[in-house]
């Protein structure tokens, strides 16, 4: 089966600019996650979707980050305006259902904010 697709792989922006990342999960996977991985740290969950509904966004900085999964398939994560501390790899993962305990990760989108 095809894996989790993410784009772009790399993005460099100036602070206060905006950026959007796209994720297409494995076909049939109802649950989608966005993780933020800062250099030297483990991934941190930003938001979890079940189909097109948000299950958990408690760690999403909502003043600047937004995410949507309108049709319950692909998802977009947006940052506006970006700060220097947003430099990180943004990982998308999917699983068949919430609690499936096997997450498949995409290759990630590396963001550098100058």
């Amino acid at each position: 089966e095809a894996g989790v697709a993410q784009s772009p792989r790399y993005k460099i922006i100036e602070k206060r600019q905006s950026v959007a990342f796209w994720c297409n999960p494995i076909s049939g996977h109802a649950t989608l996650y966005w993780y933020q991985q800062i250099l030297g740290q483990g991934p941190k969950l930003l938001i979890q979707f079940q189909n097109n509904g948000v299950v958990d966004d408690s760690q999403l900085p909502k003043d600047r980050f937004s995410a949507e999964r309108l049709k319950g398939v692909d998802s977009t994560l947006k940052i506006q305006p970006a700060k220097l501390e947003d430099s990180a790899v943004y990982l998308c993962a999917s699983s068949r259902y919430s609690g499936a305990n096997v997450l498949t990760f995409g290759a990630g989108s590396r963001l550098t904010v100058l």
Partner: protein, 118 residues
Amino acid sequence: AQSVTQLDSQVPVFEEAPVELRCNYSSSVSVYLFWYVQYPNQGLQLLLKYLSGSTLVKGINGFEAEFNKSQTSFHLRKPSVHISDTAEYFCAVSEGSAGGTSYGKLTFGQGTILTVHP
């Protein structure tokens, strides 16, 4: 809430030597435990997982891990490493019972960089 501590940030080892990457966790509820590997410029790949049953679990690429509930540990081992095992390894935990707010969500440790030298 759960937390994970990986006790070594970097582990250098020579090829064909054994290796152990240490992981301790903290949780007030039962947990599921995982080890993921991340090669440069790639996503995370599942190495192995403990959900229930035997405390010794075997994964891909010859890795194994042992769940020790009394010591709240889940150390990763390999008896003989290869150059291709050079990567960053992440220990992760999720809540082990349905209905909890953290069910299905992974909390990761900070990672251990394993470097295998020829």
